[in-house]
């Protein structure tokens, strides 16, 4: 407890609650998780993460770098990561687009990285200070080729802290880049953030081992042994398809084996990677599936509905990819409708539809005007659905 809140300010603070910005909570989470390497480039609305790292990292002997662009930022992170230091960068949509080639490289060379994307309304420059969830599919399929992706989504300030920790842990365990998505409003919002809350919901056991060649004993059969540059082994690291020696191969069998192993090390651990929260379990005909800022509206809609005598279920997803197939299908079997409010034109709803359409009707509720979806809007849609199909 003492360990992390001492980062905030040097003076004594009331540990029961503190007012803190989402971006800053993310930086604190990363520091507590042991991140000691940050390379970034300023971009609204994520710059505060970098600014916090610029202040905090020198104090703990870490490496802080401001690079000349986002391509340089992520490449510096891959370099730091291959030298054995888990690295982090933070950006927003346009910068995330620039990073995509290097993210593919990081997946290929299995460099553990944390990429925080504080999403703003796009495409292009879009609206830099308007919230959006438009980067969801970019986080999944932004880089070319078949590849695994681990993508988390934060919905409040506490999430920014604990999901950052979770993301660091996943990156380190599975030796792959992990993307943490936050809506602009989550990054910029200030709210009280109680340490007890963190302890209660702590997702990480804190058993980090940052020694460069470490692989958790449970995963030695699945995760390829890392090649640490600077070790005595003189390893070879390449973005070409390679075998376990690190050298390129054109052998069809070895190529397929390698790529499948990349996929499987993530896909086979969905139970660990998929974080979610089910509220009002098994009650009501409608389930609201939501993530990010919309999940807060969904939770509020559930409370509002309860007051008005209507039951709705809420599935709050913290992990978007790998797809939480099991929980989606489990919920889909028991509800008539799945309503997916999101700040895009149904990017994640399409994924849910693929998983759930055999059992339920998936309804997308997109909004792209740069404002949040309100609980009342969600509830109105739910009431409409329930009323419309009452006689069916």
């Amino acid at each position: 407890m003492e360990r992390w809140h001492t980062h905030v300010l040097r003076e004594k603070i009331d540990p029961s609650s503190m007012l803190i910005q989402g971006n800053r909570a993310c930086a604190l989470g990363a520091l507590d998780a042991g991140v000691r390497f940050f390379a970034g480039y300023p971009i609204t609305p994520s710059s505060e993460i970098m600014e916090a790292m610029a202040v905090e990292l020198p104090k703990v002997g870490g490496v802080f770098l401001q690079m000349e662009d986002e391509i340089a930022s992520i490449c510096a992170c891959i370099g730091g990561s291959l030298a054995g230091q888990l690295a982090m960068t933070a950006t927003s949509g346009p910068g995330f687009s620039l990073m995509q080639e290097a993210i593919g490289y990081a997946i290929m060379v299995e460099a553990p990285l944390l990429i925080v994307d504080v999403m703003r309304a796009g495409p292009s420059t879009g609206r830099p200070t308007a919230p959006s969830q438009g980067d969801v599919m970019q986080a999944r399929w932004g880089t070319h080729g078949d590849h695994p992706a681990v993508v988390l989504a934060a919905s409040n300030v506490a999430d920014m802290y604990r999901l950052t920790m979770a993301a660091v842990r996943f990156a380190q365990r599975f030796r792959t880049p992990v993307t943490l998505l936050a809506d602009e409003v989550v990054g910029h919002m200030r709210e009280s953030f109680a340490p007890e809350l963190i302890d209660r919901y702590r997702l990480t056991s804190g058993d980090f081992d940052f020694s460069p060649s470490y692989i958790h004993p449970e995963l030695v059969r699945e995760v390829h042994p890392p090649h640490v540059l600077g070790s005595e082994a003189h390893p070879h690291v390449t973005g070409l398809i390679h075998d376990e020696t690190g050298f390129p191969t054109n052998d069809p069998q070895k190529s397929e084996k390698f790529l499948r192993e990349l996929y499987d090390k993530v896909g086979n651990h969905r139970d660990e990677l998929c974080l979610y929260d089910v509220k009002n379990e098994g009650k009501g005909r409608v389930c609201i599936v939501a993530y990010g800022s919309c999940a807060r509206s969904a939770r509020a809609a559930w409370k509002l509905a309860e007051k008005e005598g209507l039951q709705v279920e809420v599935l709050h997803l913290y992990t978007l990819f790998p797809l939480p197939v099991e929980i989606i299908q489990k919920v889909a079997r028991r509800v008539e409708f799945m309503l997916i409010p999101e700040l895009n034109l149904g990017q994640y709803a399409r994924e849910v539809r693929k998983m759930a359409e055999n059992w339920t009707t998936v309804i997308s509720m997109g909004k792209i005007d740069g404002t949040l979806i309100t609980p009342r809007e969600i509830l109105d849609r739910v009431t409409e659905l329930v009323g419309k199909y009452e006689s069916v």
């Binding site: 300023p42 020198p58 000349e68 620039l98 420059t125």
Partner: protein
């Protein structure tokens, strides 16, 4: 007619058109960028196409004001691709015989960091355009982060000052010189305290842009970023010239010339003591900055002498 003294041209003599910007543009109070844009617009005339990016000048050029606007064509492109986006325009204009001047207008972060690759490429291809970099020594629009134009010792939000960090540890990139080494037709530095000098350079730039790439580096202090008073920005520009921190020079087809020779050069402390971002500097840090300023100026003098230019008479 020997008794009639030749009238010295005034700044307004260089104006070829009305100011293309309406009143009420959304710059910070005391920002020199407003003067810079209006000045470019008046001197270069109405047939210019601005190419810019998300930056401090974006609120005005992009038209994010509520009521204020401008009459120029404007192409807001990506940070990475300013010079290459402008290349598309200038190549087409050339082909189609359209007489228009393409003016890229970006900050130091775009020119020197994220957009440098395309800038260098366009200079190497000698594209026919003017590239104006207004140098406020940092990413001011996103919240005062350092850029490669931030000088040694300066305090920014990513080079903070405190126990473990003492401001920026490296010097700034000598960008006008980098561009001069691209051997393009015209490179010049300018600032808003020396408008006549700036005007002459813009006129030359417009001519030179018919032959190839032109780079203008404009020193533009930032009121909130540098922690200076709103009425001090022009004085800071003047101090930067007087201390040789930002010497005014041009390189025309490889011939270097100092356009404002300073007679009594002040120590760089005359500048740093008035600017908030340098307030924390210790004498030894100021000495390092002074050393960098002197070294750069000696190199400039050597280039002027070496390229056989005739220097302007002392001010």
């Amino acid at each position: 007619m020997a008794d009639v003294r030749k009238r010295q041209p005034k700044v307004c003599d260089y104006y070829t058109s009305e100011d293309g910007f309406s009143p009420g543009v959304a710059f910070c109070s005391g920002c020199v960028l407003e003067l810079n844009l209006r000045f470019i617009s008046r001197v270069l005339g109405p047939d210019i196409i601005f190419v810019g990016t998300p930056s401090c000048s974006a609120p005005v050029l992009h038209g994010q004001n509520t009521m204020a606007w401008h009459k120029h064509a404007y192409y807001a492109c990506t940070m990475t691709g300013v010079a290459s986006s402008a290349t598309g325009l200038s190549r087409y204009y050339e082909k189609a015989g359209i007489d228009a001047t393409v003016v890229c207008h970006t900050g130091d972060g775009c020119a020197q960091d994220v957009g440098f690759q395309t800038l260098s490429g366009a200079a190497e291809r000698n594209e026919k355009m003017i590239y104006v970099c207004y140098d406020n020594e940092g990413y001011m629009n996103t919240g005062i982060q350092q850029s490669s134009a931030t000088p040694f010792g300066a305090s920014t939000s990513t080079t903070p000052t405190g126990r473990a960090s003492k401001g920026k540890t490296t010097g700034s990139k000598n960008m006008p010189m980098v561009m001069a080494m691209h051997e393009i037709p015209y490179v010049a530095t300018a600032t808003l305290s020396h408008l006549e000098d700036y005007a002459k350079k813009l006129v030359k730039a417009k001519e030179a842009a018919k032959r190839g790439f032109v780079y203008l580096h404009v020193f533009a202090p930032c009121v909130p970023g540098w922690k200076i008073a709103t009425d001090a920005s022009i004085q800071v520009c003047r101090d930067a010239v007087k201390t040789n921190y930002f010497p005014l020079w041009e390189a025309e087809d490889g011939v270097f010339r100092i356009t404002q020779k300073v007679k009594d050069v002040k120590p760089v402390e005359a500048l740093t003591s008035t600017v908030g971002k340098f307030k924390h500097l210790k004498p030894e840090q100021v000495a390092i900055l002074q050393g960098q300023v002197d070294q750069r100026f000696r190199m400039l003098q050597a280039l002027c002498a070496g390229s056989a230019a005739v220097e302007a008479p002392a001010e």
